[in-house]
Structures are given as structure tokens and as C-alpha cells.
């Protein structure tokens, strides 16, 4: 049985600057995995490489047993991966509803689209209230909700979430994490990238620690939270 996602020894860089060195990890179906690490460790780069926004110079990425390294983003999306980027990459001149419909660009089935849309509005009632508002005029928290909503409109089997807590008020951060939890319980596999290691280790099952472009630790999240090294470097204890 193949893993859902199998990242094998990838090297990724921007031009002459290499960011990831031999990064490998696997994710099984239904898991909730986090990737923690300090600023500039290459967490976002890892997600972008999986999504096809960057292509690895070396190594392979298997999704459901199929190689996806080097495919362009739109093809990766069609395979069933959604990426909730840090900045959102929302269509700021479109309404909330139009953004959500764009998220379902690859979905042909009208009935399925309607169901997912209802689910998104159920998950984030705030989006329902703001249905006709332009995405560019919303607050940071609402934008984050819309980004997640747009991401799940494609009914992905793997959701890559990049820094969901960044720049959000604590209360809204909790809402967002609660929504991610609901998604995981509904069977969507999640890969979470966070700087807020305390929070990330609390909600996820397994964690990888990325430092200077290399995976340095891999354990169950609860064990990682007790790990002396992690405590010292990330948790500030």
C-alpha cells in the first residue's frame, strides 16, 4: 500500500540559492501532520514544491503512488492537492462567492459543487454573510477563512496549509484551527506548516522539524513537544 504522499530526497532552490537539502517525509491517508521550523528553514518552499509552484532539482514526490514532481500547479491541483498559501493568493477583485466558485474550477459535477459550497458556508458562517463582498475588502481573518474555503472547494484529498495563524488575532486563530480539525475528521489529510510550534504540536498527530533546509527530527507530536531540543529552540522553555 502506497503512502498518500511520499517526498523522496528532494533538493529545491531558487536560482543559485539552494533551500532544501535531501528532504524526505511521508504522509498516510487521514493523517494530520505538521512541519515546524524557524523562519527561513524552507517550510513554505517544501509546500510550494509539492504543489508544483517550484520544481525540485533532484528527488521525487509521489502522490498516491504517482510521481508529481515537476508537474505544473494546475495539474497537481487536478490530482487532488490543495494549497492554502500564506498570503492567500485570493482573487481580490472577485466576490467571496466567485472566489469559492473559482476554487471548484476543476469540479464538473454541479451537485457536488453545491454540496461543497454549503459545507464551506456551514464551516465558516461568516463567509455566507459576506457572500457578495469583494475578497480584497475583507479583514485578515475573513480572508484566511476564504482561502481555506476556496482550497476545499476542489474537494482535495490532501490539504497543504501554510501558516494559518500568521497575523491573526488569537480568537480567530482558534476558529481557524477548529475548522482544520473538522476537515481532518471528515477524512481530508492535512499537512500543516507553522511557526507557532506550541499550537501546531497540540493539534497534530505527527511532526517533522525542518531546520536550514534539512529534516532534523521526526516524532509523534506529543513526544516532540517534550523533546528537549524542540523545547529549547521553538518553545522557549
Amino acid at each position: 500500500m502506497d503512502s498518500l504522499l511520499d517526498v523522496k530526497h528532494i533538493d529545491v532552490g531558487y536560482g543559485f540559492l539552494q533551500v532544501l537539502w535531501e528532504v524526505s517525509f511521508t504522509i498516510e491517508t487521514g493523517e494530520y501532520v505538521c512541519l515546524i521550523g524557524p523562519n527561513g528553514a524552507g517550510k513554505s518552499t517544501t509546500l510550494k514544491s509539492i504543489m508544483g509552484l517550484l520544481s525540485p532539482q533532484k528527488g521525487d514526490i509521489l502522490f498516491k503512488g504517482e510521481p508529481i514532481a515537476g508537474l505544473s500547479g494546475n495539474k497537481v491541483c487536478r490530482k487532488g492537492i490543495s494549497y492554502i498559501s500564506e498570503g492567500g493568493n485570493l482573487f481580490t477583485g472577485m466576490t467571496v462567492r466567485e472566489n469559492l466558485l473559482m476554487g471548484a474550477f476543476t469540479v464538473g459535477d454541479k451537485k457536488q459543487l453545491k454540496e461543497t459550497l454549503d459545507f464551506v458556508f456551514h464551516l465558516f458562517p461568516r463567509l455566507k454573510e459576506r457572500e457578495k463582498q469583494l475578497a480584497g475588502t475583507m479583514s485578515g481573518g475573513e480572508r484566511k477563512m476564504l482561502t481555506i474555503g476556496r482550497g476545499i472547494m476542489a474537494t482535495p484529498s490532501l490539504l497543504l496549509v501554510d501558516e494559518p495563524s500568521l497575523g491573526l488575532a488569537p480568537l480567530i486563530t482558534n476558529d481557524v484551527f477548529a475548522a482544520l480539525d473538522v476537515l481532518n475528521k471528515r477524512g481530508i489529510t492535512l499537512l500543516l506548516v507553522e511557526q507557532n510550534a506550541v499550537k501546531a504540536l497540540k493539534v497534530t498527530g505527527r511532526g517533522y522539524v525542518l531546520e536550514k533546509g534539512k529534516i532534523v527530527l521526526h516524532e509523534k507530536s506529543q513526544d516532540l513537544a517534550k523533546n528537549d531540543y524542540v523545547k529549547k529552540v521553538f518553545l522557549g522553555v
Binding site: 504543489m51 508544483g52 509552484l53 505544473s72 500547479g73 494546475n74 491541483c77 487536478r78 490543495s82 494549497y83 498559501s85 492567500g88 493568493n89 485570493l90 482573487f91 481580490t92 477583485g93 472577485m94 466567485e98 466558485l101 473559482m102 476554487g103 474550477f105 476543476t106 469583494l134 480584497g136 476556496r150 472547494m153 476542489a154
Partner: protein, 347 residues
């Protein structure tokens, strides 16, 4: 109750719009047009509407290309020429065919065949340009994209103008008229039936294009790419397809205008200059990359050209709009609609 409330908010937003730069300009334009018409006759308004419609079409294509692909196209006039040439050949051949077979259906359909044939030829030509030229550059490097593409389009323009001269010579290739109908009098102004025909076709084209961009899934995808390319990739939009489509549409709009105006401007090698300048006037005045504003801008620029021609003489037709553009670039470089452009269709 709800209706009254909606009417109130509509009224409010209208007044809010009038206070903006765009609102002021539109209001001023309408006032100037009315004053001009009172002073010199209503033909000023009629002419503005007919030529403005075509500049609007040209400028829409230009704005679309800039908004979606960041291409500042200086070969737009040559796309116009491609349309004019295609329409000329279709009209000539169908004329010969009709002469050989009197009474065929081709006689009545020839103008439509000419204009739609030219539009299709234009869209194919645009698609070829994308695949052979822009895509190749995109594969090599995206650094200094705007500058490199600007030079590329200048090159395309030179090649096409000279290619035209090489293949078809420098002579004027035109037709006398599209429709064999008498002129129509509107507000004591005699307008040829061709002008009305072309204006109506142009309006239909603008409306179809607008509906396509606003409501179709593909149109929405084009707008998505113009607003966030990475976001568009992430939701599964095939950028290659959108880029081919955008160039095809943009070039088709230019070719459509070229074909429609063939009875006014016969085809010759450097014919692209005037439409190129005019459409650039429009996009600079309203702000780059905004398709909706380009429609209004088309009429504004047409009005100013017609007024200067009437009041200062034929030779000043380009001078006053150019001065206006310098003024706009100094005072409001983003264009009068350009303060908060978020995409090709949104302001």
C-alpha cells in the same frame, strides 16, 4: 420597501461615483459633447458614438492583454491590419463569386462573412503569435518581461507592416461599402447605413465580450489569472490555455475593428499607426489593464479628436489628445479610472 431601499443605495452610489475622478470625467465629457452639439450640430455626438465604439473595441483588446499577460502590445495596429486585409480578400472573392453566380445567398451574407471571417483570422493569428513568440520568451526568462515584450511587439509590428508591403504591395486595398442601403437621417445628420451597421455590430461585440468575461467559467478564469496568477494555478487553471485564449480574443477584437472600418480606412502597409495610437490614448487615459473603463475611454478620446478636428482643423487631431495624455501622466499617472484596478473587469 426593499425596492425603495435599493433605489436609495443606488442613488447614493451614483453620487459617490460622480465625486470620483472617473465620475467627474464622464460628467464633463457628456456636458462637453452636448455643448459641442448645440454649437456645431448633432453630428458631433453621432460621429463620437460611431468612431468611439471602434476605439473602445481596440482599447478593450489592448487592456485585456495588459491586464492578463502584462503585454504592452505595440503590434495592436497590425492586428487591426490583419483584420482589414482578411475582410478585403473575403469581400473581393465573394464579390467575384456573386458576379459569376448571380442571385446566390452569398450576396446578402458577404458583409457578415467578411467581418466574421476576419475576426476568426485575427484570433488564429493572435494564437499563433502567443505560441511562436510570447511563449518562447516566457520559457527563456521572465526578467524584465514588460520591456522585452514591448520590444518583441514592436518587432512583430515591423515584420507585419513590411510583410504586407512585400506580399500585397503598397496600394490601397479597400471596399466602397458593406451594405447597399440608403443613408439614414438621425437628428438631421445623414449617416451612411454602413456606419450604423458597424456600430451595431460593435455594440453586440462589446456586450458579448462583457457577458463572456463576467459570467462564463472561462471568462472568470481569465479574470482570475489577471488578479493572481499563482492563485489561478493553485485552483487548477491551465495558464497556457488562458494565455492563448487571451491573445486570440485581444487580436480578434482588433481584427474585428479593422474589418468593420474597412469601408472608411482601406488596408495599406502602415495603416496600423492611427488605430494603435488611438487605442493607446484610450488605455493611458483610463488606466492600463482595465477593460470596462476602456469602453468609456474609447468614447472620450473619440469626442476629443472630433472636437479638435472641428474647432482647430484636421491637423490637430492627434495633438490635443497627446497633450491631454501628457497632462494625465503628470497629474494622475494611473489614469482616471486607475486608482484601484484589481483586474481586467474590476475597478
Amino acid at each position: 420597501m426593499g425596492l425603495i431601499h435599493r433605489f436609495k443605495s443606488m442613488l447614493y452610489s451614483t453620487f459617490a461615483n460622480i465625486r470620483s475622478a472617473a465620475g467627474i470625467t464622464i460628467t464633463l465629457t457628456i456636458i462637453i459633447a452636448i455643448l459641442g452639439a448645440v454649437d456645431k450640430g448633432s453630428y458631433i455626438i453621432v460621429n463620437t458614438i460611431v468612431t468611439g465604439g471602434m476605439w473602445a473595441l481596440m482599447a478593450m483588446g489592448l487592456a485585456l492583454l495588459f491586464g492578463v499577460m502584462n503585454v504592452a502590445n505595440f503590434a495592436h495596429g497590425e492586428f487591426f491590419m490583419v483584420g482589414a486585409l482578411a475582410a478585403y480578400f473575403i469581400m473581393t472573392f465573394s464579390g467575384q463569386y456573386v458576379a459569376a453566380h448571380p442571385g446566390t445567398w452569398v450576396a446578402g451574407a458577404a458583409p457578415f462573412l467578411g467581418i466574421f471571417g476576419a475576426t476568426i483570422a485575427g484570433s488564429l493569428f493572435g494564437a499563433v503569435c502567443e505560441v511562436l513568440v510570447f511563449r518562447q520568451l516566457r520559457k527563456r526568462s521572465r526578467e524584465q518581461w514588460v520591456m522585452n515584450v514591448f520590444i518583441l511587439t514592436l518587432g512583430i509590428s515591423v515584420i507585419l507592416a513590411n510583410g504586407h508591403q512585400l506580399l500585397f504591395g503598397t496600394g490601397y486595398k479597400g471596399i466602397v461599402k458593406y451594405l447597399d442601403l440608403p443613408s439614414i437621417s438621425i437628428f438631421q445628420t445623414l449617416i451612411s447605413s454602413d456606419r450604423i451597421f458597424v456600430f451595431l455590430l460593435g455594440m453586440v461585440a462589446i456586450i458579448v465580450f462583457w457577458l463572456f468575461m463576467k459570467f462564463s467559467k472561462t471568462g472568470r478564469a481569465i479574470r482570475a489569472v489577471s488578479q493572481d496568477e499563482t492563485g489561478a494555478l493553485m485552483v487548477g487553471i491551465d495558464l497556457n490555455r488562458i494565455q492563448i485564449l487571451t491573445l486570440a480574443i485581444s487580436s480578434a477584437l482588433a481584427a474585428f475593428s479593422g474589418a468593420s472600418l474597412l469601408f472608411m480606412f482601406p488596408a495599406y502597409p502602415t495603416m496600423g499607426m492611427a488605430p494603435l495610437y488611438n487605442s493607446w490614448f484610450v488605455v493611458i487615459v483610463v488606466g492600463m489593464g482595465n477593460v470596462g473603463a476602456a469602453v468609456i475611454g474609447g468614447f472620450i478620446v473619440a469626442l476629443f479628436q472630433i472636437l479638435t478636428t472641428v474647432y482647430f482643423g484636421e491637423g490637430w487631431g492627434f495633438v490635443v489628445p497627446s497633450a491631454l495624455i501628457i497632462l494625465i501622466l503628470v497629474v494622475k499617472p494611473s489614469g482616471i479610472f486607475g486608482s484601484s484596478v484589481r483586474g481586467v473587469l474590476e475597478q
